[in-house]
């Protein structure tokens, strides 16, 4: 990571630098354009609120101005997520992989791995970790070619230490696996040595058998006059045929069968040769050699004996080949197993164990076995541009490279931490942890620093989750805390993004309120949804919805209340709640005008009542009564009015009686009698408006009655008599 971590840092820094720019460009396209337009929309909307005629177009204008539909709310979250992102770009949470040198490590479920990282931060290093690290270092030192030049004692000591290392919890049994692998290789090596001894013995026998065959062939050639070549060829031909059978039935039973035949043959041809053959071949240790020796010496000098000797020679050669193949297979198997173990340790990021196993491998296998037969594809992913042959040393190189990267990464973590750039330290630590989770430099990181970074990690993680939930108040609070913890956290950017979102939400809510005021409830609902989408926990949304709900509830109740009261002509109840009802029935085409009429009536009634109070204070009961009568025309069933009339009636009873009588006569079309009563009432209260108006009205009626036939009435009327009485017109 001496090479990769700086590259990582540059890449990540470049991404961080690019993200705000991208966010800004996004804002220019959508987010930033929206606030600018929204501000103009706010002023436009305010102006429209004053202009009632502009109602129909106000909501549309605001919609266009707010540009809510095209607002990329994801931009905000992207900014915040970038600010709170503790994951390096080298980590792929979706696939659960970690990339290093172009190779993807499978880290399993990312959530589980995050849990491991948090656990690592929360757990302090123990003494066991220290002892474990020392043990592994000791093993590495013993296996180093610099110490003891690979002495067998050092190797054995290192092998024993592997069992000690495996006792530690943090080892995970990997040391035991390496130790077992070494033991297995050693066992195979011993078997290979035993096979070599057996193979050497068979070689010796084969040479003897070969001499016997040659000798027998020469003897037969001398007796029969055949050439040596022909004898040998015929013997070899027969021997091969027999050998082929013997090889196919390469079992002890087959061998015994041959022995039996040989014995019979020996007894038939040459009895004395059995003991001679036994004497000459019994010094071999192999279980089959004595029998083979018997066979070799059991043949007589004739052609049949020569045939059996040739077959025995072929059998021996087959056994030598079989032993050679068996030895080769066991060595190859051990090598492949060992290489697989080394590769597995490397891929598990157990780099120390990988180095230890590679060192053992070097001591166990010869230099010609260093080429890798397994894991070539995996190694090729680490070294994509190389076409070199991959050896165990290649894995060692990569393991050492990884360890060096981890060590330099931890140095970077400490440097960033000391500079109070804890976010950077946390990012570097997380990257380093993913690669060197099992290395001492990571496991023995200082507890105090881990605790501090854990606190920061948890706060950042909490803030990120709160940002996902758009709980911006909590995000701002946590942002302040995080900013106090470290100097390299982009708190100002987060605050700006949060404020932008809050402002957009408030603007959308204002638009919703204006739409609701204009009665455009679907549009208002749309704006509220947008406001909630931007900032779900916006307290103004709750107030708005509560207000709307109470308005809806109040609207229903108010409608019932108004209708009932209006039906009973109980205008006073309506008048007392005129303010609330006026708000509710603002857009009610039916009840709005009715409410206005009621308010007008009751306002006049109130004026009359006030006037009545004043007149009573002046002790003008008749005028007070007439004021009440005037109010009665507007609210005949008003309780307050009727109560006052009832209180005042005794004081003006006579006046009331005369007026009432006048009214009744008038209703009965007895206008003259009515006029008399009005005059009578006027006598009681000469300034009576009721009487005056009544007199005027009734006299008009009388005139109307007399007008149609004035001449007839005059004719019917008796002529006036007397000197001073004026004569009626003729």
């Amino acid at each position: 990571m001496r090479c990769s971590l700086p590259i990582f840092i540059i890449v990540v820094a470049g991404l961080f630098a690019a993200h705000p720019a991208g966010a800004q460009s996004d804002s220019v396209m959508g987010g930033a354009a929206a606030p600018g337009k929204a501000i103009s929309a706010g002023s436009t909307a305010a102006g429209m609120a004053n202009a009632a005629d502009a109602k129909p177009s106000s909501s549309d204008t605001m919609t266009r101005a707010l540009n809510i539909n095209s607002l990329e709310s994801g931009t905000l979250l992207k900014i915040i997520n970038q600010a709170f992102d503790t994951n390096s770009d080298s980590i792929d949470p979706e696939n659960g992989t970690f990339n290093w040198k172009g190779h993807s490590y499978d880290i399993g479920q990312f959530r589980v791995f995050r849990g491991r990282f948090e656990r690592y931060l929360s757990l302090p290093p123990t003494k066991d970790d220290t002892a474990y690290a020392e043990t592994l270092n000791q093993i590495t030192e013993l296996l180093s070619t610099r110490n003891g030049d690979g002495a067998a004692g050092n190797v054995m000591e290192a092998w024993k230490l592997l069992y000690r290392a495996s006792d530690f919890d943090s080892d995970g049994g990997n040391s035991l696996g390496v130790a077992n692998q070494v033991f297995n290789a050693w066992r195979i090596r011993d078997e290979k040595q035993a096979l070599t001894v057996a193979q050497n013995e068979l070689e010796h026998i084969r040479k003897q058998q070969q001499g016997s065959v040659v000798y027998g062939a020469d003897a037969i050639a001398a007796e029969t006059g055949q050439t040596m070549t022909d004898a040998v060829s015929s013997a070899a031909l027969l021997g091969n045929l027999s050998t082929g059978n013997a090889t196919n039935s390469n079992t002890s039973s087959g061998t015994n069968q041959n022995n039996t035949n040989n014995q019979n043959t020996g007894n038939t041809g040459n009895t004395g040769n059995k003991n001679t053959g036994n004497t000459g071949n019994n010094r071999n240790t192999g279980g089959q050699q004595p029998k083979t020796g018997q066979v070799g010496n059991g043949g007589g000098p004739g052609p049949t004996g020569q045939l059996f000797r040739a077959r025995e020679l072929a059998e021996t050669e087959a056994k030598i080949q079989a032993l050679s193949v068996a030895g080769l297979l066991s060595v190859t198997q051990a090598k492949l197993q060992f290489q697989s173990q080394i590769m597995s340790l490397f891929l598990q990021r157990r780099f120390q164990h990988c180095l230890i196993a590679a060192s053992f491998y070097r001591f166990i296998f010869k230099g010609s076995h260093q080429n890798l037969e397994v894991g070539k594809k995996e190694l090729a992913s680490f070294l994509p541009s190389s076409d070199l042959a991959f050896t165990v040393e290649t894995i060692e190189f990569l393991a050492r490279e990884a360890m060096n990267d981890v060590n330099s990464g931890m140095a970077s973590v400490r440097a960033s931490y000391d500079d109070n750039r804890k976010v950077a330290a946390l990012e570097r630590l997380q990257e380093t942890f993913f690669l060197g989770e099992y290395l001492p430099s990571v496991t023995q990181f200082e507890t105090s620093r881990k605790e501090s970074l854990l606190l920061l990690y948890r706060k950042i993680d909490e803030a990120r989750k709160l940002a996902d939930l758009r709980d911006y108040d909590a995000v701002v609070r946590l942002n302040d805390e995080i900013t106090a913890l470290t100097s390299d956290f982009r708190g100002a950017e987060v605050n700006a993004a949060v404020r932008s979102a809050q402002r957009m939400s408030s603007l959308a809510l204002s638009a919703a309120q204006q739409c609701a005021a204009n009665g455009d409830y679907p549009k208002a609902q749309e704006f509220v949804e947008k406001a909630a989408q931007l900032w779900p926990l916006n307290p103004a949304i709750k107030a708005y919805t509560d207000n709307m709900a109470s308005q809806a509830n109040m609207g229903t109740q108010a409608a019932l209340f108004f209708d009932e009261s209006f039906k009973r002509n109980d205008y006073r109840r309506i008048y007392e709640k005129r303010a609330e009802l006026a708000v509710v029935f603002l857009s009610d085409q039916l009840r709005g005008p009715q409410l206005k009429g009621v308010i007008d009536r009751m306002a006049r009634v109130e004026i009359y009542l006030a006037q009545e109070e004043e007149l009573l204070a002046q002790n003008n009961a008749f005028a007070a009564w007439e004021a009440l009568v005037g109010a009665k025309a507007f609210a005949p069933d008003d309780v307050e009015l009727n109560q006052r009339m009832a209180q005042l009636a005794p004081r003006v009873a006579d006046f009331i009686g005369r007026l009432d009588q006048a009214r009744r006569y008038e209703d009965a079309k007895s206008y003259a009698a009515s006029l008399t009563s009005y005059l009578s009432a006027q006598d009681l209260y000469p300034a009576s408006q009721l009487a005056r108006v009544g007199v005027g009205r009734v006299t008009g009626m009388i005139m109307d009655q007399l007008a149609p036939a004035p001449a007839a009435d005059t004719a019917q009327a008796p002529l006036p008599s007397g000197k001073d009485v004026a004569e009626p017109a003729k």
């Binding site: 006029l675 008399t676 006299t699 009388i702 007399l706 007397g722 009485v725 004026a726």
Partner: protein, 126 residues
């Protein structure tokens, strides 16, 4: 003239025929006054005007105010009886050609018409 003392005194200085003529005239006059000169019952009228419909009375009253006037028809005047405080409306047809002023006192010959209308048939200034 209906006083017997005055009649005796008058007969001592006037010829018998003249006295006789005067007496007959007075009787005739008294007979006429008794038919249309009955004072108007104000309180009875106020209490139940319909009960007096068709009757003819004499009403001495002071003109209080003119309530209405329609050309060619007549005028309605509020009068105050000399012996009562209540005001009464009376109709005086234009055909009577009367010149009326407030506070003038008149003797009205009235009939109570339908609806309680006090229709002035004759009036005489007092």
């Amino acid at each position: 003239m209906s006083n017997p003392f005055m009649a005796t005194l008058f007969s001592c200085f006037v010829p018998r025929s003249l006295v006789f003529t005067v007496v007959l005239g007075a009787l005739a006059l008294l007979a006429g006054c008794g038919r249309s000169g009955e004072p108007f019952p104000v309180h009875a009228f106020l209490a139940a005007p319909d009960n007096l419909q068709g009757n003819r009375y004499r009403l001495d009253a002071e003109i209080d105010a003119q309530l209405n006037w329609r050309e060619g028809v007549g005028r309605i005047i509020a009068v105050r009886p000399l012996k009562d405080d209540a005001r009464l409306p009376v109709f005086i047809a234009d055909s009577l050609k009367a010149n009326l002023l407030v506070a003038q006192r008149y003797r009205f010959i009235i009939t109570v018409r339908k609806g309680g209308l006090l229709y002035v048939e004759q009036l005489e200034k007092l």
